[in-house]
């Protein structure tokens, strides 16, 4: 586990010594800020609901862009061979990379906290849903990071990793909004699968263990899948 810490520090540093982090954070803030403020005054309420409701649609584009290089690049330049022949476990590598992504997502969300402070000056802000929203955003971001890491492990081409990650994340965001495509018998199941649905629950300020468990399972399954794929390559 101590090994995971070194990987984590290295990966996080990598984001911020290269332009990736700044570009991704800028794009995220621009898009989310624009969507938020373009309707904020029209609604005439001190609420961050529109901001949070956009996240399941923005994250599928932003997060795979952050995760796509994690394994694809290592496989492409072959550095994975050097990494894996150091005294580390594959699981340490995956956990280190995953935690770096989670921290990145949290740092990316940090500036948007100013929206909440700002909105609280404009009116009577209900802090429950806001805190729930930020917690949900980090959970959603973590789950999508895990999926992005899984996608990155499947290929040595970063663009493919990005597209695969985006498609899976987007499907999870939208599946509970497209229920009319599915037969009635599996509806509850499909509904439960949707990440958007669980995120909205938490963003309402209701912290339900089912939603937490959902995100933790997605993280676990995706990371375990990544481990299996990397293991298969040996």
């Amino acid at each position: 586990m101590a090994q995971a810490r070194h990987i984590f520090i290295k990966e996080l540093k990598d984001y911020f010594v290269s332009p990736i982090a700044y570009i991704v954070i800028c794009i995220f803030l621009l898009i989310s800020g624009w969507f938020f403020f373009s309707t904020f005054f029209l609604i005439n309420q001190a609420t961050l609901r529109t901001f949070f409701s956009m996240l399941p649609l923005i994250f599928p584009f932003v997060i795979p862009a952050v995760t796509m290089r994690l394994f694809a690049e290592e496989l492409h330049i072959g550095s994975f061979e050097m990494l894996l022949t150091l005294p580390v476990r594959l699981s340490d590598v995956i956990i280190g990379k995953f935690l770096a992504c989670v921290v990145f997502v949290a740092l990316m969300m940090m500036p948007t906290f100013s929206y909440a402070i700002w909105a609280s000056f404009m009116g009577d802000l209900d802090w429950g849903p806001v805190m729930g929203g930020f917690l949900g955003a980090v959970l959603l971001g973590s789950a999508y990071s895990a999926i992005g890491i899984f996608a990155s492990a499947t290929t040595r081409n970063q663009i493919i990793a990005f597209i695969v990650g985006m498609v899976i994340c987007f499907a999870l965001s939208l599946v509970d909004k497209m229920l009319f495509f599915f037969p009635a018998t599996i509806l509850p199941f499909i509904h439960y699968l949707g990440a958007g649905f669980h995120f909205e629950n938490i963003a309402k300020g209701i912290i339900d263990s089912r939603d937490i468990i959902y995100f933790i399972s997605v993280i676990f399954i995706a990371l375990y899948g990544a481990e299996l794929i990397m293991q298969e390559k040996r």
Binding site: A2, Q3, H6, I7, I9, K10, K13, D14, V17, S18, I77, G78, S79, E81, M82, L84, T85, L86, P87, V88, R89, R234
Partner: protein, 311 residues
């Protein structure tokens, strides 16, 4: 030190390494030779734990790869072919990162990094991005990566491939200077390199071992194909043929160009025994003058080609 038993690796249907048995002793510098695609890299990758064998076992000291891979990795430093390092990191950052993973910290870490800088000549490039370095410098950083923790076993996959002659000599010197008290496994397809650095050479082809021994042993082989050069004076070709062809072991006599009054012969030897004494005695019994008698083993090149070219 390293004990390999019935090691086999399949890539799908393709058998890359087939039933290899190998014992590498402590302090040995072993050269793994073979043509491209013979299974050198695959063997090294299994040895270092990057690949898992399809069957067979590897034991390093008392650890097996199946159970104690982590302990084995701690004993080993590995430099893969062409040193695939992270392009975007600084040399210093990279070495520090590796030191961290290898569990070095504080005083020890600074010390080891300093030693590596001196040994591998990294002084001027510590604050350069790895992606900017030339191939030779990258290779040196790779060597520093492999030796950082002062591992007992060093595995180097084609450490000099793609380098210019000066760089090759530099890398070879580094390897030799650390090779005194380490077990080193080097793969290469450059024969002169193996000859210059290794105590022992294992030639593999199509996934199997075709020869194993010290450079001298391999060259002398089983004796077959050894050649002896003779330069004589005061005699003719037919006379010399008569006398020498009866010596046991001499299978073929061939005249070589020489100075006007000298006779130069090339004798092909077909027995493992050393016939030089007998040849000398046969000549001593005559009144010829013996100017030169010298024996040549097969060149490593020739052995290599013979062993790896039977289609």
């Amino acid at each position: 030190m390293i004990h390999v038993e019935k090691l086999t690796k399949y890539y799908g249907e393709l058998c890359a390494v087939n039933n290899i048995d190998l014992d590498i002793r402590k302090g040995e510098i072993m050269g793994l030779l073979g043509p491209n695609g013979a299974g050198k890299t695959t063997t090294l990758r299994m040895l270092t734990g990057y690949l898992e064998p399809s069957s067979g076992s590897i034991r390093v000291k008392d650890f097996t790869t199946a159970q104690d891979m982590l302990s084995i990795k701690r004993l080993m430093g590995y430099l893969p072919e062409s040193a695939p390092l992270y392009h975007n990191m600084l040399v210093y950052d990279y070495l520090e990162y590796v030191a961290g993973i290898r569990g070095l910290d504080g005083q020890k870490k600074a010390e080891r990094i300093k030693t590596m800088v001196e040994l591998c000549g990294l002084k001027g490039i510590m604050h350069k991005t790895i992606g900017e370095l030339s191939k030779g410098l990258k290779q040196r950083v790779g060597l520093a990566h492999a030796m950082l923790d002062d591992p007992e076993i060093l595995v180097l996959d084609e450490p000099t491939s793609g380098l210019d002659p000066n760089q090759i000599v530099e890398i070879r010197d580094i390897i030799r200077s650390i090779g005194k008290d380490k077990t080193i496994v080097i793969s290469t397809h450059i024969l002169s390199e193996a000859e210059a650095t290794c105590d022992r050479i294992v030639i593999i082809d199509k996934g199997g071992i075709v020869a194993d021994g010290s450079t001298e042993m391999l060259k002398m082989g089983a004796g077959q194909g050894k050649t002896i050069y003779l330069t004589l004076k005061d005699t003719g070709l037919t006379q010399a043929r008569e006398v020498i062809s009866v010596v046991k072991g001499v299978s073929h006599i061939h005249e070589e160009p020489s100075a006007a009054d000298e006779l130069r012969l090339k004798l092909t030897i077909s027995t493992p025994d050393d016939p030089r004494e007998a040849i000398y005695r046969a000549i001593k019994a005559t009144d010829w003058t013996l100017l030169e008698l010298h024996q040549e083993g097969k060149s490593l090149e020739k052995i290599f080609r013979e062993l790896t070219q039977e289609a």
